[in-house]
Amino acid sequence: MTDSSKTVNTFTPTVEAIETSRRNFLKFGASGAAAVTLSGVLPGMAAQALAQPAVIDAHTPKAGERRIRLTVNGVAQELNVATNAILLDVLRDRLQLTGTKKGCDHGQCGACTLLVNGVAINSCLSIAVQHDGDAITTIEGLAQNGTLHPVQEAFWEHDAYQCGYCTSGQIMSAVAILQDPAIGRDDASVREAMSGNICRCGAYKNILAAVQSARGKMARVG
């Protein structure tokens, strides 16, 4: 009503703006600008990939390096990696896919969980060379044509995070678990199957609710 309150209002993000950024967070993980840029790059690259892989490194590998091909979120990429380069670090540092997080770096927290050929693993305990030829899905690869994956949608609806650091790992585990007929559907089975994903903020209750509600969404979809 007064001038000063108007001034304040211009600095208050609109609900729409907040929702957009929360959605982007779920799409790309808490990764900021790099991931947003990628969203513009990826579709074009995907079309290219049908013909030939995106070449990240053109030169022949140096001593101590190997040339590998990874299909990341549907895009084939060729690059040179040091033989001791960890898969998680290659995705984050070389391919700018920073949605996958590094927590403990020793297989203990699950923040680095992603899918290799459809199977959830800890990417901090893999060297990139051992995945030559593999298909990798990260949090950035879940949304299709700008539409969130049902698990991402459910995490959003159920507020299944606080700081968000564990969230991409939680979501990748949940995606794998919901596809796995060997894992029970009851709450206890889901909790047990998700126990490799530690949440420092203790959002477990909402994470469980999100996973179970995503199960319903996925059943409806297909």
Partner: protein, 332 residues
């Protein structure tokens, strides 16, 4: 992290020629033990021999009733295989009680057998530790020794537990470990595979340099038996055992005709409680009997300031498992 060479093995013979399970040239399977310890610089590798492309991913029933498991079968695949669930439920339960979903997806059968101890002094890379640095002493003796330190099979040189759940089930079932070496294949009985620390805790298993595990073949299941794995730990999931038991038992006319008992979390190797097994033979199941068997199993325990609770806990984990398998009505 230190740098290392990388080669991919195309055949078991080639892998055996190029690598070992320890030392400078090391096999890489799931990497969940190896890369963890390379990052900590506890395993000082110079060359990694990647065995993941070897055709050792099958689970095959043999005509004599045994089950042959390729070394690269993942812990998840093994736990959920229909034949394992049906014939060896305790093995499935033990695997699913270990680590996390994503770690079990990565971890392999041979790698699980070969996993290293979880002792903090071993892992920290600097403390006195005979396993890591032969002759340097053992910081755990007189140090912190509560959760991953043993009371059975220890020595003055090392008291770390063997951390595997899967191996405890295998110790009860019985198995042969097939290894490929420079001179061909040989079989090692599972009971002889893991070594007690004794005076040489850095020697953990019966493999010679350049020997690769290709398969593990489980003994045929005991006809008419019941079996289960029970694990006690500090939290309900995703934690190593404080004490665990694998029990296979067959009753005949209300008496115990056969019992195979193994313990985890309390011993320096997957621990078969043979004296307690013999004691149970021909007797009628009762809580009193099982308590006596539990006492026998833990007899000779050597404890530290922090882990003496493992003696009654080891006893209890055996008693409860036997009780639930044989005295259902009584316990319900």
């Amino acid at each position: 992290m230190r740098t290392f060479d990388y080669v991919r093995a195309d055949s078991s013979a080639q892998a055996a020629k190029q690598g070992s399970s320890q030392g400078a040239e090391v096999f890489l399977a799931g990497g969940t033990t190896l890369l963890d310890l390379v990052k900590l610089d506890v395993m000082k590798v110079e060359q990694i021999v990647d065995i993941n492309r070897l055709p050792l991913k099958q689970i095959e029933p043999l005509s004599d009733g045994r089950l042959r498991i390729g070394t690269l079968v993942s812990n998840t695949e093994l736990a959920t295989h229909p034949l394992v669930r049906e014939r060896y439920p305790l093995l499935s339960q033990a695997l699913l009680a270990g680590a996390s979903t994503q770690l079990r997806n990565k971890a392999t059968t041979g790698g699980n057998v070969m996993q290293r101890v979880r002792c903090n002094y071993f892992r920290d890379g600097i403390s006195a530790c005979n396993k890591r640095e032969p002759g340097s002493g053992c910081a755990a003796i007189g140090g912190l020794s509560r959760s991953v330190h043993a009371v059975l099979g220890t020595s003055e040189q090392c008291i770390a537990t063997h951390p595997s759940d899967m191996c405890v089930a295998m110790a009860a079932i019985g198995a042969q470990v097939t290894v490929q070496g420079p001179n061909g294949l040989r079989d090692i009985p599972f009971a002889d595979f893991h070594l007690l620390p004794g005076d040489s805790p850095w020697r953990e298993h019966a493999l010679q340099p350049h020997e690769l595990i290709t398969h593990i073949t489980l003994d045929a299941p005991l006809a008419g038996s019941q079996s289960a794995y029970l694990k006690l730990r500090d939290r309900a999931s995703y934690q190593f055992a404080l004490a665990s038991s694998a029990v296979i038992v067959r009753l005949e006319s209300g008496r115990i005709a056969e019992a195979r008992l193994a313990l985890g979390g309390v011993a320096t190797k997957p621990w078969r409680a043979t004296e307690a097994e013999r004691f149970l033979m021909g007797k009628r199941p009762s809580l009193a009997l099982f308590n006596q068997a539990g006492e026998l199993a833990m007899r000779g325990a050597v404890t530290t300031e922090h882990n003496a609770f493992k003696v009654p806990l080891g006893q209890q984990v055996l008693v409860r498992n036997l009780r639930d398998l044989t005295l259902q009505e009584a316990s319900a």
